[in-house]
């Protein structure tokens, strides 16, 4: 089955995403970040549609841009005045920080969407991490199980909100008291369910699950790793390290 695959291994895509995201921690100049950020955005955003709704991605990007703007104004508002709104001046330092931070966000999110889009879903990704990178099977089990719980938890949440409406108690979860009550109820139900699904898993022999064979590295995997290396080399030579 592994020999006929066309897309790279999810574990290789995970390594790519990690390697590229690490650049955001190390390089700080826009010159070093611009090309990798644009490249990953061009590749990642169209592919990310396969695994995440684009509306959510755009909301995340708008939030991040807002955060980058605030961050620039709070921490780097120095230098000459670029923009003056009322009595408030946005200076060159804030503007440069806004650009750098957005490049980092586009780099990180683009690389992550690329990984999610090509890996064929969270289950495939977790399975590949277990098989190829040695993630312990019991951690892989927990992550896979967490994704199976999503529909159940959203159903519980819907029922809880209906019940709270009928009882005419608050449903606005941005109110900390309501949030605490909703969380407590969901945690309580989930605990019960976890105990029984854990017992069921034990009875089905979760302990003796064997690790499957590691797949071969193919040309497309090497191409992805080479791309990460090329981005690193580019960033290294186009900026000074912090």
């Amino acid at each position: 089955m592994d020999g006929s695959r066309k897309s790279p291994k999810p574990s290789v895509l995970f390594l790519y995403s990690m390697a590229v995201s690490a650049m955001a921690f190390i390089f700080s100049s826009p010159a070093a970040l611009a090309v990798p950020a644009i490249l990953n955005s061009i590749l990642g955003f169209p592919l990310g549609r396969r695994s995440l709704p684009m509306k959510l991605v755009f909301i995340i990007l708008i939030f991040n841009m807002w955060g980058a703007l605030l961050n620039g104004i709070y921490f780097h508002n120095e230098g000459f005045v670029v923009l003056s709104i009322g009595g408030f001046a946005v200076r060159s330092g804030a503007f440069a920080s806004f650009i750098t931070l957005n490049l980092r966000f586009f780099l990180i999110i683009g690389a992550t969407l690329l990984m999610l889009g090509l890996s064929g879903g969270s289950r495939e990704l977790v399975r590949s991490l277990e098989r190829d990178l040695g993630m312990p099977p019991w951690i892989a089990f927990s992550i896979s199980h967490a994704f199976r719980l999503f529909p159940l938890l959203s159903r519980d949440y819907g029922e809880l909100i209906v019940a709270r409406k009928e009882r005419e108690v608050g449903t606005n979860i941005f109110n900390p008291i309501v949030l605490k009550e909703v969380l407590f109820s969901m945690l309580s139900v989930s605990y019960e369910r976890a105990v029984w699904s854990g017992i069921s898993a034990e009875l089905r022999g979760v302990k003796i699950r064997k690790r499957s064979m590691r797949g071969k590295i193919e040309l497309q995997d090497l191409a992805v790793l080479a791309l990460a290396a090329a981005e690193w080399v580019y960033a290294f030579f186009s900026s000074s390290l912090i």
């Binding site: 995970f14 995403s17 990690m18 995201s21 955001a24 921690f25 700080s28 995440l52 959510l56 995340i60 939030f63 991040n64 807002w66 955060g67 605030l70 961050n71 709070y74 921490f75 780097h76 920080s97 750098t100 931070l101 980092r104 966000f105 990180i108 999110i109 690389a111 992550t112 990984m115 999610l116 990704l125 019991w138 951690i139 089990f141 927990s142 992550i143 199980h145 967490a146 994704f147 199976r148 719980l149 938890l153 605490k180 969380l183 407590f184 945690l187 309580s188 989930s190 605990y191 019960e192 976890a194 105990v195 699904s197 854990g198 017992i199 069921s200 898993a201 034990e202 979760v206 302990k207």
Partner: protein, 187 residues
């Protein structure tokens, strides 16, 4: 069977994660992953009104609750580290606002929280331990923010941010471990 075991075998048996522990870890992963994803909007909203210190105080603890929640529910070595890491992994896959860097944050914050339980020799799992585990993750988060977001201020500002992050971690750590403890007690 237990009577014939050596001390090492007994210790190994105690640390082994059962199916129930793994299912609980999954529950913590989903709940904390959703909270972590929501934490971004809370942080940005509060930062606009109350500045960096207020934002850290109001929201940073939300990003640390995976560790005390998992540790209080599972009560085994490494549960704090795993709770925070699985939560961060889930966050990355459902709403990657911070992309895969969430996992780096999750592992390091979880390791800091785990150190608290390790220092207590894995004997205390109460709300105080939960508060301390949240508190311990604060400096790590501020340090990573300095690297990734360039959040670097004067020494006074940095100290205030670390204190705010630690206080937030302690508050949310206390609340989450108290809730987890009540649920355990109720069953």
């Amino acid at each position: 069977m237990v009577r014939g075991m050596t001390d090492d075998e007994k210790k190994e048996r105690k640390v082994r994660y059962t199916g129930i522990d793994l299912a609980l870890l999954a529950v913590v992963g989903v709940i904390s992953g959703i909270i972590f994803a929501g934490g971004w909007s809370i942080y940005y909203a509060v930062e606009a009104v109350a500045g960096p210190v207020g934002a850290r105080l109001a929201s940073y603890g939300l990003w640390f609750i995976g560790a005390p929640l998992a540790a209080t529910l599972i009560r085994k070595p490494l549960s704090a580290l795993l709770g925070e890491t699985v939560g961060a992994f889930v966050e990355t896959l459902i709403a990657p606002a911070g992309g895969i860097t969430n996992i780096i944050y999750g592992v390091l914050q979880g390791a800091a929280s785990e150190l608290v339980y390790f220092a207590m020799r894995y004997k205390k799992w109460d709300s105080i331990a939960g508060a301390l585990s949240g508190l311990a993750a604060g400096p790590i988060a501020v340090a990573l923010d300095a690297l990734l977001f360039g959040d670097i201020g004067s020494s006074l500002e940095m100290s205030l941010w670390v204190i705010a992050a630690m206080a937030s971690g302690a508050i949310y750590g206390f609340i989450s471990s108290y809730a987890a403890k009540s649920i355990r007690r109720g069953k």
